[in-house]
Amino acid sequence: MLKIKDLHASVDDKEILRGINLEVKAGEVHAIMGPNGSGKSTLASVIAGNERFEVTQGSIELSGEDLEEVSPEERAHKGVFLSFQYPVEIPGVSVTNFMKTAINESRKAKGLEDMPAKDMLKLIREKSELLEIDRKFLSRSLNEGFSGGEKKRNEIFQMAMLEPKIAILDETDSGLDIDALRIVASGVNKLKSKDNAVILITHYQRLLEYIVPDFVHVLHNGKIVKSGGKELALELEEKGYDWLKQETAV
């Protein structure tokens, strides 16, 4: 589904990704772990099409299509979703209205009519129940005054509404207490299917107890330095990341 080949990316002429190779197939869950500054969030941003980063080499393909010239909104229409580490506050625009706009823009891009209000309400109800989100919450301004946990839950609610092919969850576990983590993880698990895929970007192994990955990759200095099964996450938790630095130094 997602094929990343020798991806190099930089910001302000500083290279951050230095040759990433990664293939994610439908139905799989991949975890990307690594120390701070290793390039995890940059990788997430670049897949979603953030124009702040310049792809200098390599390619990203989604279902066989090269994404190089594809804008962030078109990537979203094609099924890429990024759950942000720091979601943006939009005063004056309710969660509901924001989702209506997002869904209808995506439908418009596919040549479809706006979703009928009745269907939209039904969808919103269904997905908010999945994430145990209060109805009142949906009429609040997007992310404005939300707690850290509410923001993350709202990100996963948006993912549920948009039903992406590939969802990248950037540090979705940070700032979540254990109850919120459980709700978010169970939401993600329910949304998982054989037709979609998930990339979890995380610093800690904690989230992976709830969303079990098929593959774990370790990112360091802009490269995947180690890949393995879910047991690799446990190993990392035990050993920390210091061994990486030694290994790369050698």
Binding site: N50, E73, R75, L82, I90, V93, K100
Partner: protein, 438 residues
């Protein structure tokens, strides 16, 4: 003949049509004398550093309309807040349109300045309030005073509140080649009374129009006044709006200025706090494009202790538009415990757009809280990416961010239908249809 000479020589013709025996005419004569001495302000004056009236003075404006023009309601309905019931004071080319208006004398007076300036029953109010807070030496204000004859007259007696908001609309039809309008309005809100006013200047023509308006607002003890100025005029319409507010103890006056249109707009908004525990609010949203120019020049004079003033002006400037914000706050020595806050935040969305923002604080008291902040920036790229990553195209994403930026000012609009209408104007101005009413 330049515009100043033309105006001065027109004054004699004007005198043929007004009651020169009325005491108000002495006020007019003093005013024309002041204007004759000072003339139009030039960029050499600090207060007009960023706004030039030179090109306007070259236009051959008609000073008085030659004929009475009529408009059909269906053609101008969209300029009214027709979603709700309102009193209406409507002028067409400076002449009162009884057909489009809905005035009242039922417990309150919502009518015409021409009546107030001529009928004896209004004389006690005119004697006390007319030209009492408006400047007697600022040249454009005195120009308006000299020709003052018509405009809105609103008198709300003690403890009263009109049943519905009041709309004041000035239409220019363009049947004259180019026209100069000088409406003069007076709003007196007595003790514990309340009023909501929406004001709009609307040109219906591609001919040049220039409006030099003066509005005096008096808020007595515990009175509440909400005044909304909707400036979304045609690209050939220029406006100099001079508004003077006099407030007594515990009164609350909020003036909102929404500037989306017009060629050149200058808002001189002056608040004088003549009492204690007064609250004055000046909020503005300015969204400009093309070569539009808006200059907000505000003054709050804190003359007594324990008062507050709040200013929040948001500006979004595109194309080659120019914005100016000059906010002057004076706190007299006696005005201890003053809280004066001023914010001016701007976004430039084009390399050619510009904003000049200048706070001016003169504080003579020592126990006060005063703050001012000015920001000029671009749209946040990360926020834009967030919206785009949800499938929202760049143009719509930018519009949502701009809307969010101006939101707190919109939230303070207390007439829900007006808020909806302004949201629609903003969406239109930003060229987007977001699929829901903002």
């Amino acid at each position: 003949m330049d515009l100043k000479d033309k105006l001065i020589s027109s004054f004699m013709a004007f005198e043929n049509n007004v009651d020169v025996e009325h005491p108000v005419h002495d006020v007019r004569m003093a005013a024309i004398k002041n204007f004759e001495e000072k003339g139009f302000p030039s960029k050499k004056e600090e207060a007009w550093k960023y706004t030039s009236l030179n090109s306007l003075q070259k236009i051959d404006f008609s000073i008085f309309p030659r004929e009475e023009n009529t408009l059909e309601y269906k053609d101008v309905k969209k300029y009214f807040l027709h979603e709700i019931d309102s009193y209406k004071i409507v002028f067409v080319d400076g002449i009162y349109s009884s057909y489009l208006s809905e005035t009242t004398h039922d417990g309150v007076d919502i009518c015409l300045m021409s009546a107030a300036l001529t009928k004896p029953m209004y004389k006690p109010v005119i004697d006390v309030y007319f030209n009492k807070v408006a400047s007697k030496d600022e040249s454009l204000t005195t120009l308006n005073t000299a020709f003052s004859r018509e405009g809105a007259y609103i008198y709300i007696p003690k403890n009263k509140m009109p049943k519905k908001p009041i709309e004041i609309i000035h239409f220019a039809t363009g049947n004259e080649a180019s026209i100069l309008l000088q409406p003069r309005s007076l709003v007196v809100v007595e003790e514990n009374a309340e009023v909501q006013i929406i004001e709009r200047h609307q040109s219906l023509t591609s001919n040049d129009t220039l409006t030099n308006a003066v509005t005096e607002i008096f808020a007595a003890k515990s009175a509440i006044v909400d005044f909304y100025k909707i400036q979304n005029d045609a690209a050939t319409a220029s406006l100099i709006d001079n508004t003077y507010v006099d407030q007594k103890d515990k009164s609350v006056v909020n003036v909102h200025t929404f500037s989306f249109g017009g060629k050149l707009t200058r808002n001189n908004l002056n608040f004088y706090q003549n009492g204690e525990y007064i609250d004055s609010t000046m909020n503005g949203v300015t969204i400009l494009g093309e070569k539009q120019h808006v200059d907000h020049y505000t003054l709050v004079h804190h003359m007594q202790p324990n008062c507050e003033s709040h200013q929040d002006y948001k500006g979004i400037y595109g194309d080659s538009s120019i914005g100016v914000f000059n906010g002057k706050i004076i706190v007299d020595k006696i005005a201890q415990k003053t809280n004066a806050f001023q914010k001016n935040n701007n976004i430039l969305i084009s390399d050619k757009a510009s904003i000049n923002s200048k706070p001016q604080l003169e504080i003579f008291a020592d126990d006060v809280k005063c703050s001012h902040g000015c920001t000029i920036g671009q749209l946040d790229e990360d926020a834009l990416f967030y919206l785009q990553s949800r499938g929202i195209p760049k143009k719509e994403a930018r519009a949502l961010l701009m809307y969010a930026f101006a939101n707190n000012v919109l939230e303070s609009v207390r007439i829900p239908e007006l808020k909806t209408r302004i949201n629609k104007l903003i969406a239109k101005k930003l060229g987007v249809n977001l699929g829901f009413d903002l």
